[in-house]
């Protein structure tokens, strides 16, 4: 059984090298703005750039709205499909998989053509409209992840029993979802939320094609014009992603365990 372990270590080691070397290289590169010695100058340069603050703030706000809209759209749907409309389930699952199959650039092209200023719903006719469209586009992008997270959350709690207990206690449906179901799947919903944030924060294609001042296009612009700042930005982005994923991991420890899990 020794060779087995040897191959495992080899595979793991090669994989680790592939994933760690670019991070190390990027970090070293980001410290090399000054000739001859390492410094954090590139980071200072990034943080002091007002466009960095503005675009990052913009993307963060859009991200928060995307999370809220995503929860409002997904949670009731999952709840009712699980509880009352199980025959809709295959259709709903298919819909949530579509964003993984239809490229984002195709979707945004459709939006631009469909919702231009002369259409019935002229999203792109105003800045606010475009912001709304951008939010909806991000909700769509994150739909597979949000749906999966919420669906898993509802599977681990017995929503049927919870609902019946709440009904006997006289709660209406909005109260049941808001006060009973949501708190019980909070961890799952937050996982979906952080994943949404990780996807939205540096998104380039849609923001760029809708001409919004988001973080992704800013990154791209810096990359085309600077040498060391992009490396610093890559490290910053990696840390943000790590933070979002780390939150999901931490939250996972608080997730309710399904009672049906026996082995």
């Amino acid at each position: 059984m020794k060779p087995n372990k040897f191959w495992s270590w080899l595979v793991f080691g090669l994989g680790a090298a592939y994933f760690i070397i670019p991070l190390v290289a990027t970090f070293m590169f980001s410290l090399s703005m000054r000739r001859g010695y390492y410094s954090f100058d590139s980071y200072a340069s990034v943080f002091s750039d007002p466009r960095f603050q503005a675009t990052f703030g913009y993307s963060a706000v859009i991200g928060l709205f995307s999370i809220v809209v995503g929860i409002l759209v997904v949670v009731p749907a999952v709840y009712f499909v699980r509880l009352r409309l199980p025959w809709l389930r295959p259709a709903v699952e298919f819909i949530t998989l579509m964003p993984l199959i239809i490229p984002a650039i195709v979707l945004v092209y459709g939006y631009i053509r469909l919702y231009n200023s002369s259409s019935i719903i002229p999203f792109t006719g105003s800045a606010l409209g475009t912001d709304i469209l951008l939010t909806c586009a991000y909700v769509t992008l994150a739909l597979p992840y949000m749906y999966r997270a919420v669906d898993t959350g509802m599977r681990t709690i017995d929503i049927q029993t919870l609902t019946e207990a709440a009904q006997i206690a006289g709660a209406n449906t909005a109260q049941i979802i808001g006060r009973i179901i949501l708190p019980n799947i909070l961890v799952a919903v937050l996982s979906g939320a952080f994943l949404t944030f990780a996807i939205v924060i540096g998104e380039f294609t849609i923001a760029s094609l809708l001409n919004r001042p988001a973080f992704g296009p800013y990154l791209q612009n810096i990359g085309a014009n600077r040498a060391y700042e992009p490396a610093a930005l890559a490290i910053i982005s990696f840390i943000i992603t790590w933070g979002a994923m780390g939150m999901i991991n931490v939250l996972g420890r608080f997730a309710p365990r399904t009672s049906a899990r026996t082995d």
């Binding site: 495992s8 994989g15 990027t26 749907a77 009712f80 990359g223 992009p230």
Partner: protein, 291 residues
């Protein structure tokens, strides 16, 4: 009397259920179906508003065919390599008798790396393997000149290598539950029947993983095929892949023909859909033995 109230109550409850599902359905129609259908339709409508196949025919130019071809190759190569390497790593950390903590660490890292795509990823690889990248410089220092030996980050292999940074972790995340599902008893039963470890994988382990493997493969393919930010940030518009071509078309930098743009998009949808249909057909045959 009672009948009517019961009927009303059912109806009210029904409408309430639909009210709950309605936002989701409206959302799906507005932001997934209508845009897609609109583009599919637009691909067949000429400047004069009449039905035409000209836009489709317009795809068959050398430049566009070459773009599709290199896109398919990069997506295929990064999907296949990503799937194979991801599977190998998943097997190593789950079945390879490595320390317990390693697995959790790899899974967490995979969650991060699979989302670390787009522009920052391009920056990381430029800092690593670009002309002035750290690895390039170090290798040159010890006498290996990557770029003289034909490597270029802005090429097919350069882009594939970069894409693997999110493809491999995605594979690990999706295939890990399937690898977990391989029971220890199966390999023991095979061993006691005389099978070598390799024979176990050949006849039992890999066939059981095959449908999940294929499913993830098609997902990775679609993932790479639609990816643009990484490639765009790496290469500008110098690498002629389909999403960059479409991006340029939308920005109005090139082509200047909305019908052709729609046809490009239709082609992309057809290719990712085909990848998924191939998966569905093969896995339906491979999954005979499943419930």
């Amino acid at each position: 009397m009672t009948d009517t109230t019961a009927g009303q109550r059912t109806r009210r409850r029904l409408s309430f259920e639909w009210l709950g599902v309605a936002p989701f359905i409206i959302f799906a129609v507005l932001f997934l179906m209508l845009p897609t259908l609109y583009l599919v339709g637009a691909a067949f409508i000429g400047r004069d508003g009449q039905f035409t196949l000209e836009n489709i025919a317009g795809l068959f130019t050398d430049q566009i065919i070459a773009a599709y071809w290199i896109s398919i190759r990069i997506s295929g190569a990064s999907a296949i390599l990503g799937a194979l390497v991801g599977l190998a790593i998943a097997l190593a950390i789950i079945r390879g008798r490595l320390p317990e903590g390693l697995r959790a660490a790899v899974m967490t890292f995979s969650g991060v790396a699979s989302n670390f795509a787009g522009v920052p990823l391009a920056f990381a690889f430029i800092s690593t393997l670009g002309r002035l990248g750290l690895v390039t410089v170090i290798l040159k220092f010890i006498g290996i000149d990557l770029y003289k030996s034909g490597f270029n980050l802005l090429s097919f292999w350069g882009l594939t290598l970069t894409y693997l940074y999110f493809q491999i972790p995605l594979m690990i995340l999706i295939i890990a539950p399937a690898v977990d599902g391989l029971k220890k008893e199966w390999s023991e039963a095979a061993a006691i029947l005389g099978a070598s470890p390799w024979q176990f994988w050949r006849y039992v382990g890999l066939p059981i993983l095959w449908p999940s493997f294929l499913g993830t493969l098609s997902l990775l393919f679609a993932n790479a095929f639609g990816a643009i930010a990484t490639a765009y940030a790496l290469t500008g518009s110098s690498l002629n892949i389909v999403p960059i071509l479409l991006y340029a078309q939308i920005r109005g930098d090139a082509l200047q023909n909305p019908g052709l743009g729609a046809a490009l998009a239709l082609g992309m949808i057809l290719i990712t859909a085909t990848a998924n249909i191939i998966y569905l057909v093969i896995s339906a045959r491979a999954e005979r033995w499943m419930k």
